[in-house]
């Protein structure tokens, strides 16, 4: 049966952890098929044969490109898919992964299932993918026609295989691209991005003003969490759009989500309802957010947040 090709994502030459999760999902499917998992790194970098093998890869092909070019990377990936008999390509559902996924699907003449959160491979030749639509207000189960095309997988929903096996690593030629990344600057906050964080602390209008965000930042730092914001405070200019959670922002599903001073508009709920544990803190006991929270505190965030931050400092990690 056809092999599976995983696109590895790296930044500054280092593999991004979310790619290991994608390898794990591909491994499960390949085992059901009795086929192989190949991985393509579309630019040069450090690729650890043991870690990639453990996550699920049989073979890793490293292209000799020196900068990220989406069209170049897509052409390289489509070529490898053809050469290596792969009818399914998988990537992490990141900004780069979503971009590449659509291009590779077009080059393969296949379908695209983006941002998948589950996979059923009872029919291993053509698995069924579950993907949220309407920002998570509904879910579609979909199949690629003839099993051909691309699936991108959301972070935190799949796990690396965890086997003891080393991948073979080979170098290959990269295809040239017309557009390329000429610069990249890391965010300076040191906090994880809200879309990838395992814990998220999000704030809304209830914080009162942009000046009060230090309370959220302190709580986030005590938890090692990423910062999120409601649409209302982004539209008010209190916080950057990169932190917005919900429809027209990011969809997140961390293990622990704090909604602080957020009433719970339907657009916001859609973007975070997949979180494992939701804590809501709001002074309005009737706020819709409480109907979706695992744990709720009715109270003023200006009092509760500092107390919470202080109490967390005493909790052994």
């Amino acid at each position: 049966m056809s092999n599976i090709l995983v696109i590895l994502e790296s930044r500054d030459g280092a593999l991004r952890p979310v790619s290991l999760e994608t390898l794990g999902a591909a491994r499960q499917l390949a085992d059901a098929r009795g086929s192989q998992v190949l991985a393509v790194a579309t630019e040069q970098g450090t690729y650890d044969a043991a870690a990639l093998g453990a996550a699920g890869a049989d073979k890793v092909l490293v292209a000799d490109a020196t900068a990220h070019s989406a069209d170049g990377a897509a052409a390289t990936t489509a070529r490898v898919a053809k050469e290596q008999n792969c009818n399914l390509v998988m990537a992490a559902s990141t900004v780069r992964g979503r971009d590449l996924g659509a291009r590779v699907a077009a080059l393969m003449g296949g379908g695209l299932a983006a941002d998948c959160i589950a996979m059923d491979f009872a029919d291993a030749a053509s698995p069924t993918f579950t993907r949220p639509v309407y920002a998570g207000k509904a879910e579609l189960k979909v199949r690629l026609a003839n099993g051909v095309g691309v699936a991108t997988l959301r972070g935190n929903f799949f796990a690396p295989a965890g086997r003891s096996s080393e991948a073979a690593v080979e170098n290959i030629a990269a295809e040239a691209g017309k557009a390329h990344v000429s610069g990249i600057s890391a965010q300076s906050s040191g906090r994880p991005d809200v879309a990838e964080a395992n814990r998220v602390v999000a704030g809304g209008r209830g914080l009162g003003s942009a000046d009060n965000w230090h309370m959220l930042e302190s709580l986030a730092d005590a938890l090692g969490a990423g910062l999120g914001a409601s649409r209302a405070v982004v539209d008010a200019g209190w916080r950057p759009h990169s932190e917005q959670v919900g429809q027209t922002g990011k969809t997140v599903a961390p293990e622990l989500y704090f909604a602080c001073g957020i009433s719970g508009a339907i657009q916001h709920l859609a973007g975070m309802r997949g979180s494992k544990v939701i804590v809501a803190i709001n002074k309005d006991a009737d706020a819709p957010i409480f109907q979706h929270a695992t744990f709720g505190i009715v109270g003023d965030v200006h009092e509760v947040l500092p107390a919470l931050t202080e109490a967390l400092a005493a909790v052994p990690s």
Partner: protein, 249 residues
Amino acid sequence: MDIISFVKRVPTTTTIVSIKDQQLDPQGVEYVMNPYDEFAVEEALKLRDEAGSGSVLAVSLSDGAAQKELRTALAMGADEALLLNNAEAGNIDCMTTARALADSIQGRNFDLLLFGKQAVDRDQHGVGPAVATILGVPCITEVVKLTVEGDKVIAEREVEGARETLEASLPCAITCQKGLNEPRRASLKGIMAAKKKPLETREVELAGPSMEIVEMALPPKRPAGRMVGEGAAAVPALIDALRGEAKVL
């Protein structure tokens, strides 16, 4: 500068989703131009006006109903509109949409193709880069800052935890992210003028689907939660619950 801007008709983001016959139940649903496509139309108008020449064409594929959203684009300031009709268009996958859109503009001259980064109904993020790939033009996705200098395109986008700068040459495709601009509202004058602007309607064929929908369902219900208390006094109880009960601390 000749720009083609793509527009999709979608349910508003305040829509409460209910399902009928494995599709969104349209009962009571209000439809609008996809919010990300508003950024694309605005950027097209801005770049046309800065260049001082050229035109903006707004294109939509729908089952006929998107005439309203194209009139909105015309009222904002687009010069002409093209409505691609197919009775099945409401329920096709994004790659099939991309193939139909690419076909519709084959042979037409353009400097820029502008798309919303995603449609807020299916959330695939696929149409822009797929159309660009089919047409063989470079594409930069999820752009929050765009500069065009002569033939050179410089764009910035936010990736997870970092900001990338990308470069390409015209002709080029761009998908637009919130933050790129503030879309204008159509003025009364614009709405009146839009009625006289050309809106061509064309029936189109669709290629076979490249993805099949097996089922549409509402997401699983969250287990009922509970209140742990009021004010700062509830903090110890919350921490106990997070550690003991939920085991996330």
